[in-house]
Amino acid sequence: MNQQATTPVFEARGLVKRYGQVTALDGADFELYPGEILAVIGDNGAGKSTLIKCLSGAIIPDEGEILLDGQPVRFQSPMDARRQGIETVYQDLAVAPALDIAENLFLGRELRRPGLVGSAFGMLDKPRMLAEATAHMQDLKIGIRSMRQAVETLSGGQRQAVAVARAAAFARHVVIMDEPTAALGVKETHMVLDLIRRVRERGLPVILISHNMPNVFEVADRVHIQRLGRRVAVIAPHSFKMSDAVAIMTGAMAGEEVAA
């Protein structure tokens, strides 16, 4: 992969975030290149989730800059980030169980009927949402028959698939997945990992935050290792042992030696 020749889609330089005495991010850098799955790993307190929250707009860094397609951006809220084409999938299955799949896919971004019924009476274009939901789900090869099924009738993996499909349908630049498999069983985890690959195949770069090393090594193109508020290394999983990654994460091995 000749990534270094291209500009990153999404980049952060020298991010700093302090909470009182605690420095969660201490000059962290970050790069995401087109068409890749970048895993972000790190021990508890490494600043992993603070970094992701900065990137998804959930918190505003004290210092440093974030660049989207080479342009500096400042996200004031997760909504801001979403408007810029960055979608986030959360670990805790952020779906409304009693609503159906199509309604969940379009939640907050409903389509209205054309003409007066849509503009004056706000009538939803349910047939179109149903059709588009079906298309999005098929696009990702998610084999759920009816988009009119309530999400609560689905398994945990299928629910997460709905959340991933929603993110993939609306993201223009980046999909961030925050521990998307943490609540799932082994089989369903693999299903979601397949799904993450298909999102990449559709041309969307993915940031994957995960505690699960085997998962990370299975699916990621590159692995960003966070330690003590900084990025200490970026490694290619196929040329690295998992134990080395853990060693870097915990500080047993110096990260600088292995910068990819």
Partner: protein
Amino acid sequence: MTNVLTERQPEPSVVSRARVSLAHGINIGTLGPLLALLLAGIFFTIESDRFLTGPNLSLVVQQVMVVGTLAIGQTLVILTAGIDLSNGTVMALGTIVMTSLAVNAGLNPILTIALGLLVCAAFGALNGTLITRLRLPPFIVTLGTLNIAFALTHIYSREQTVSNLPDALTFFGNTFRLGQTNITYGSVLTLLLFLIVWYVLGQTAVGRHVYALGNNPEAARLTGINTRRLLLGVYTIAAVIYGVAGLLLVARTGVGDPQAGQTDNLDSITAVVLGGTSLFGGRGGVIGTLIGALIVGVFRNGLQLIGVASIYQVLITGILVILAVAVDQIARRRQA
């Protein structure tokens, strides 16, 4: 490669399969209550010749008009997983503002109706603000505003019933003839309100957001719904609907009564619950509430017709409420 998604697809249960048709307003949640209403209707039709007649059914609707309208607002609040205990006394305050300003201050009754609705809206906005900004539980907030509205009603009215109302205030008590039956304009307004709210809940984005908010507020927020504004809006709109209920009450009784509405909060919750709307939020709808209100009305009316003491209606209502909540709980547990 086998597709885990297709493989693991669970067969939809009866409950969920029916819920697929949620948007059409008829689902398992409203099917039970509808069945109860029909059975009660059939029973009273057999037992009394007078039950299934136009005038009698019109009377049933008139009797449930006020509580039914209050229950529309209550449904909206309960769908967000909230509760509104203040609706009866807020309504009473609205009626006193409408009638007292018209009769004692001589203001234009159309203006006083608007002012009455505005006072109700202000109470709704107060409820919503305390719940969203201070994150206080709806039960406690509306228990507080229940008492505040009650006290203001009595202070402002000096405990006096307002009578000799101008015609505009009792317009909705007037009737028109449909065949052999006199129907009040108020009944039509109530049904119209049910229809409008049914449309908004099922067919518009904001309606779906109300369900999402009641279902999983965090998910609703994460998908970009302004949940605070939505919740504030729900409590405010609900309170305006309580004001309309007040207008109907004034039209029906012909007076502004400071003692009105004191137990209507519980009656409206009863109608909502009987209609199959979940007290945990996110499930149900106003068609169920209409059915719930009618069940109470039909039992009251029917038992009266066959000469049974009306206290039995209360007994039956109590049993039905517990039954309705039990059905909801069992359905939820099966989903979990």
